[in-house]
């Protein structure tokens, strides 16, 4: 068992100091794919929080009975089961968003954040810290998703959550939406900017040259 970490730091570290996206650079693919609009970004973030928290708990509960050589398969089965449940819930209650997210909900299974947390934390910790770790990392992931989605939708479509925010008078005076924001490269550049800001604020994250 790893050294004792307080439950508080397990929950809050992933928000910033140990953020799964901008520090560990995990789950970048889904950040590119679902952040063109804010709404799918939020739903995706919530789904990841739920799946990550509960798969962490389940794996933590059965961690002593899983044979080591098939542990990855067991983890995948647990995650897949939860993803199917989330997907069905979304199809039932938020059909439009589910259509937009399409394959990316299913691909939560392959999100590196999940496998990373299950392997690194849930396999060696008790259920309650594992649950907090799942919530913390899910929120850390969602924060980045929401920041990126916010800027991409605001600058790319002039809307937020589908509502028009940039007033019509701007457009009348020659303002135009930035089409590049809708394209995936801008998601990478915004993530890069977040990394830039974060490392300037936390110099201890900078690698030695």
């Amino acid at each position: 068992m790893a050294e004792k970490i307080s439950n508080k730091s397990v929950l809050f570290n992933p928000f910033s100091k140990n953020n799964p996206v901008v520090v560990q650079i995990l789950g970048i693919c889904s950040v590119l794919a679902v952040t063109a609009k804010l709404e799918p970004a939020i739903v995706m973030g919530l789904s990841v929080i739920v799946v990550l928290a509960f798969s962490n708990v389940i794996i933590s509960l059965i961690r002593n009975t899983i044979p080591t050589n098939i542990r990855i398969i067991v983890q995948l089965v647990v995650v897949a089961g939860l993803v199917v449940i989330v997907n069905q819930l979304l199809l039932a209650y938020a059909y439009d968003v589910a259509k937009q997210l399409s394959v990316f909900i299913g691909l939560i299974i392959t999100n590196c954040i999940l496998m990373g947390r299950l392997e690194a934390f849930a396999m060696s910790n008790r259920p309650w810290p594992a649950f907090l770790d799942g919530i913390g990392n899910g929120i850390g992931y969602s924060i980045i998703l929401i920041i990126v989605g916010f800027f991409r939708e605001l600058l790319g479509s002039g809307t937020l959550l589908g509502m028009r925010v940039v007033p019509q008078s701007f457009y009348d005076h020659g303002y135009a939406n930035n089409g590049l924001m809708i394209l995936p490269p801008m998601a990478l550049i915004i993530v890069a900017c977040i990394i830039w800001v974060q490392r300037s604020l936390n110099p201890e994250l900078n690698e030695e040259n």
């Binding site: 020659g174 303002y175 135009a176 930035n178 089409g179 590049l180 924001m181 394209l183 550049i189 830039w196």
Partner: protein, 411 residues
């Protein structure tokens, strides 16, 4: 110059360590070395190859761009006068109109670009680099004349920060800064960067020229017209009033297009300056044209109505659009091009060939020179690496043949 020198000497002590304005010493240094020869020059040393420094290189490139700039002004005025149906073409009015059309763009691109450069240099406590001198004038030259100023400002800021400064400033950029500005504009604001509304200035500027275009006017560029003619057996290219254009017209450049890149003649004058002074690599320039010519010949040989641009002749392909401009001023950027001799041939040839491929076989992009140069910018280091490795391998083999007992296996 005397009073300026006096002023600089008088205020110098403020900028030296301990002075009140020491924080701004890089701005001071930049201004001083821009206007005068610096006090401290290298007196000896094996590293001095030449009297030339990067400031002088930049100035000569700017000079080489002057024919394009002047012709662009004339052409902008000319296209406006044609579009408004004027019968006489007073030369100085045309020039003044074009000058007024381009001046704000040059000002915006320099203010934004240099502003960021100065700020970053100040922040990092480095000397101000002169790299933006050329970029700042290239940007207005490769944009349509009707590009809104704020778009140029946004694109320039994006490009200078994310293409140049984050990689370490002048000399470290992977991609050509001016072309990324153009690419940003193209992908972010496609409606303002293509089509038939943006390449001819139709408003009057400061009372010059008259607003309102005559009937029958169409502002599409030759390549823009070609791209819309898919499926036809023969393509027609006309000027804005519907008269047919010959290859000679395309060479001279009195056609709608981005500000400074319409006239192949003006570009060739600039090319002559760059090649004569040895600043641009003739290997790159020649191989870009060779690559373009070969690919255009192949495309023309297999011409099909499905891809209307394949029906253009080789000469038309080389004269139209931004091809010549990219060959002379973009592909030759010493920072982003390949650096080995063999590498330059490969790099240039591929730039030319890919430009024509994109232009011909993708009807969605009427012009491919920009994307071709950016793509090859990304591949230039790989080309260089292969060339260097091949050379090392050849020499290793030669050494083994000369002296078989030596063990020269890899490392």
């Amino acid at each position: 110059m005397k009073p300026i020198k006096k002023l600089l000497d008088k205020t110098r002590h403020h900028f030296e360590p301990g002075g009140r304005l020491h924080a701004f010493h890089s701005v001071f240094d930049g201004m001083e070395t821009f206007l005068f020869t610096p006090n401290t020059t290298s007196k000896s040393g094996v590293h001095i190859h030449d009297a030339i420094d990067s400031k002088r290189v930049m100035i000569i490139v700017v000079l080489a761009l002057m024919p394009c700039l002047l012709f662009g002004m004339y052409n902008t005025g000319y296209q406006h006068w044609v579009a408004t149906g004027a019968s006489e073409m007073p030369f100085w009015s045309l020039m003044l109109y074009g000058f007024l059309a381009v001046l704000p763009k040059i000002a915006v691109s320099y203010i934004v670009g240099l502003g960021i450069e100065f700020t970053v240099a100040q922040w990092r406590k480095e000397e101000i680099q002169e790299g933006f001198l050329v970029t700042g004038i290239l940007i207005p030259l490769i944009c349509p004349v009707a590009t809104p100023l704020w778009m140029i400002a946004v694109a320039t800021a994006f490009s200078v920060i994310f293409v140049k400064e984050v990689f370490g400033g002048t000399g470290y950029n992977i991609f050509n800064v001016a072309l990324v500005t153009r690419a940003f504009l193209f992908f972010a604001y496609p409606a303002k960067m293509s089509g038939d509304q943006v390449f001819v200035a139709t408003d009057s500027i400061a009372g010059l020229g008259s607003g309102g275009v005559v009937d029958g006017f169409t502002g599409a560029t030759p390549l823009g017209q070609v791209a819309t003619q898919a499926g036809q057996q023969a393509i027609t290219i006309t000027d804005t009033m519907g008269h047919d254009l010959s290859t000679w017209d395309m060479f001279l450049g009195l056609i709608p297009g981005s500000f400074g890149e319409t006239s192949t003649l003006a570009i060739l004058i600039g090319a002559a300056i760059l090649l004569f002074t040895g600043i641009a690599s003739w290997r790159i320039v020649c191989s870009v044209f060779a690559g373009g010519a070969v690919m255009a010949f192949i495309a023309h040989h297999f011409a099909t109505p499905l891809y209307p641009a394949s029906m253009l002749s080789v000469a038309d392909q080389l004269c139209l659009g931004g091809f010549a401009f990219a060959a002379v001023f973009m592909a030759t950027d010493p920072v982003t091009a390949a650096r080995t001799k063999t590498g330059k041939y490969i790099y240039g040839f591929l730039v030319g060939a890919i430009a024509i491929i994109i232009r011909t076989y993708n009807n969605g992009y009427p012009e491919g020179a920009m994307l071709a140069v950016l793509l090859m910018n990304a591949f230039a280091p790989l080309i260089d690496w292969c060339v260097v490795e091949a050379n090392a391998r050849r020499r290793r083999k030669r050494a083994i043949i000369a002296n078989p007992s030596t063990d020269l296996t890899e490392k």
